[in-house]
Amino acid sequence: MANQTAKTTTKAAVPAQPASMMAVIAPAVGWLIPGAGHMIQRRWIRGGLLLVSIGALFVLGLMMQGHIYKANGGDILDMLGFIGDLGAGGLYIVTLAMNWGQGAVAFATADYGTKFMIVAGLLNFIAVADAYHIAIGKKQ
């Protein structure tokens, strides 16, 4: 009798949501290609809208002659700019590889372009977190 009660009370705690590979893959893919973290989980429309929105912001920023930040250890604002840009994932990597985003001081709107690209990266961080929440079942 005492043995039975001991058995029932010493049950190992079961996690609410089992960890799955999707919880790792979706955020990683979502970072690399904006919206892909949702698409890989069959949220096609959401993923498509995220891809278009974040992609358009980033590309418009480039076309406005915005400046892209590289890894640096200097000014705090430059470091924050780098973190923001880095959020765009594949878009940022391609931009660096093609040596785009050098920034033109000739255009007054170039500063807007710089901010567009930073915000695109930051919005992608939010999209990545959302893809993770879907993967662990916290959100539908």
């Binding site: 809208l49 974040i54 912001l57 406005m64 255009f107 807007y112 939010i126 999209a127 539908q140």
Partner: protein, 60 residues
């Protein structure tokens, strides 16, 4: 290829795309996503007009 947007068109484009992302990521159901996206868009553009008029008043 370069593009030059005016202050307002840049703010409009920014508000549009940021609102879409906010709507999708901050709400659960489709209906709530649309409503929140529209709310964010209105707030962004409303903020542009309020800030614009505030700067006009400060300048006078």
């Amino acid at each position: 290829m370069t593009i030059q947007l005016s202050h307002f068109s840049a703010a409009f484009v920014f508000a549009l795309f940021a609102s879409i992302v906010f709507g999708i990521t901050h709400r659960e159901t489709t209906r709530d996503m649309i409503r929140y996206g529209l709310y964010c868009f209105a707030m962004f553009l409303g903020g542009v007009f309020v800030a614009g008029w505030a700067m006009w008043l400060v300048r006078r």
